[in-house]
């Protein structure tokens, strides 16, 4: 079960804040309950799955699109509160109930999204306590998640820093390796070159000796 609580204003009482609580099972399409509270009194009502489907049909909207619209309009997840408007009207026949309707506003054109009959809650204190508790519990949950994310943050930062240090070490090691190899190569190579020079010298001497022998004989 999921619950959302958000602040709304109703067009019939501008400036007056109501708290709208919506509770549903899988998604709003499977029906949901609506509680409205002004901090003193509370009203409650239900929208059945059939009514959701009927509203979607009347608006000629695909069910999922209509449910998304309901989500945006009625739950805290929705961001653009100014894209939706709410009306609350007393039922002349029964002063214990209110007619609550919600509309989508598109360029000053109002599309009725749906409505629900709300009945006065006899003991509003329970709804009020649940609303306060909802905020406290949600904050506690979010704070715990916050701490978890901060921990994650720290861990990721440390891992990134560790790998960066390793990379720096590797970059250095690669340079050191290159220098070291060249040093060794130069030593070995110059050994061979010294050997070549000495052999060249000996060969030169030997050839001069042959030369002189040949002259001698000649």
């Amino acid at each position: 079960m999921d619950t959302s609580v958000r602040r709304i204003e109703v067009s019939s009482e501008p400036g007056k804040i109501y708290f709208l609580r919506v509770t549903w099972e899988e998604d709003l399409g499977s029906g949901f309950s609506v509680d409205l509270c002004d901090g003193q009194s509370a009203w409650t009502g239900k929208v059945s799955e059939e009514e959701v489907s009927k509203e979607a049909q009347e608006m000629e909207m695909k069910r999922q699109i209509y449910v998304d619209e309901l989500c945006q309009a009625l739950t805290a997840g929705g961001k653009q509160t100014n894209s939706y408007s709410f009306n609350l009207s007393k039922d002349p026949a029964d002063n214990r109930s209110l007619h609550f309707s919600y509309e989508k506003v598109l360029k000053d054109v109002f599309f009725k999204l749906g409505s629900v009959e709300l009945h006065t809650v006899s003991k509003p204190i329970e709804v009020i306590k649940e609303l306060i508790n909802h905020g406290l519990d949600r904050s506690t949950e979010l704070r715990a998640r916050n701490e978890h994310l901060l921990g994650e943050n720290e861990r990721l930062g440390q891992e990134r820093d560790y790998v960066t240090e390793e990379l720096k070490k590797y970059v250095q090691a690669k340079e050191v390796l290159e220098q070291d190899l060249y040093t060794r190569f130069v030593l070995v190579l110059n050994e061979k070159k010294a050997k070549i020079r000495s052999l060249q010298e000996k060969l030169k001497q030997a050839q001069e000796e042959v030369e002189s022998e040949l002259q001698h004989r000649g």
Partner: protein, 39 residues
Amino acid sequence: SPSTKQHFAKEYDCFGDSYYADTDKEQLKEVFRRINKTE
């Protein structure tokens, strides 16, 4: 010219590294650079 060619052939190997003169890192790097992948 052939004579120059001959002179170089006597003094340097096919990678341009002198047989006789000592090398250093920079020269060796240069020689290595000349050795292309295929070789």
